[in-house]
Symmetry: C2
Subunit: 256 residues, 2 copies
Amino acid sequence: MIQLDDRVIEFSEYLADEARNVVLPHYRNQFIVEDKADSSPVTEVDKAVENVIRKLVENNYPEHGVIGEEYGPVRENAEYVWVVDPIDGTKSFITGRPLFGTLISLVYKGVPVLGLIDQPVLRERWLGANGVTKFNTHKVYTRNCPEIEKAYFATTSPFLFNYNDIPKIERVTKAVKTTTYGGDCYSYAQLAMGLIDVVIESGLKTYDFAALVPVIENAGGKITDWSGNPIDINSNGKILACGDPVLHAKLLDWLS
Amino acid sequence: MIQLDDRVIEFSEYLADEARNVVLPHYRNQFIVEDKADSSPVTEVDKAVENVIRKLVENNYPEHGVIGEEYGPVRENAEYVWVVDPIDGTKSFITGRPLFGTLISLVYKGVPVLGLIDQPVLRERWLGANGVTKFNTHKVYTRNCPEIEKAYFATTSPFLFNYNDIPKIERVTKAVKTTTYGGDCYSYAQLAMGLIDVVIESGLKTYDFAALVPVIENAGGKITDWSGNPIDINSNGKILACGDPVLHAKLLDWLS
């Protein structure tokens, strides 16, 4: 795994700080909400955050590419590409529920090498890079939980899976200790700090999953697609993330 | 509606303050989790909070009754009864997600006349009584939204409904603007401050729903069972809560 400069890690935090400054004044206030082509909501705040981040990358790393949720890719074949979801969990943001987050990833030759999840309202930040995942200022680790029946499972909605995958998810739901819904990126943050054991999702886009990979892997967890392939920017958006690699191997059998 | 003394309203806040003091040191720390008879989880923190509240009621209002989630009822036929869910959303609490809450209600002759939802981590409190619902220090109101297709809907899990009710809920989910999961009591708090428009749930117990009633009604919303009956402590636990009474009337047609 490539070792990143401290300067670029600090820059990722600066991006997240600036994103917070845009997001917080709008939280639970009026803002424009539109429907996208896929009928998912987008707000003026999503767009404003992504614009700020794009400008800062342009000014500081003009050779780096940018892939974001709201606007078209720029230099997406550059060696280094920033992948940004300005507000992951837009429904939570729109309804004033503090489980959304800004996702920022730095991708090197297609592989995410830095991941950042920022929750502005709670002032919580998870940053994975260079072999370490930090929650705000201290290192965090996933927890051991090799048994499916003891696992705490989270997924955003049972209705985000393809029809053919639903029986697989139902099998997991029935086997695990508990299931919680509605987490979006916050579930992966919980996973990285050893509060839950498994997140399974489907239909995620590059900007949804790129940041999750370094956060989970540098905390000791394992994250792949449902076939066990490592996640790169071209992955299919089916995510299996576990705190314990033994649990990951077992659930991979169920999903693949 | 009965008018309550300021003193008893202040006492309800004192109970919530003391509950926070018990909960916060345990948040994301180690604590004992057990399975109850219905296989739902309970922690030592739930029990400790309920014990503190019971003692304070005993010391300050020894003639009042108490109904709580974790221990048997005391003087449940008293004119005034405190109804307490020490931690609503135990799964969120266990997994370190700040959407759980302490629910405290004062019930007069079976009817909830004071309701309090407290989120310790976020230091957010919603208190409904005497014609007013406050979020921390300022008054809040539900919002107008008479149209089902514009409504923001929340429910904790699609799997908490009876088999026969699932088609009704699916009809709502398909018709509304957005659906979010995983809220527990936090969804009702969002409703009371005009951030969402409807919450529908099933299988709630007295300690789950008693506090919600004054929070919603004093903010201008309407909350009944699925047949349109007002909620008292003997209600059947099927809840339809809307910010706009017009929306409530429409959805009642769909559920009853």
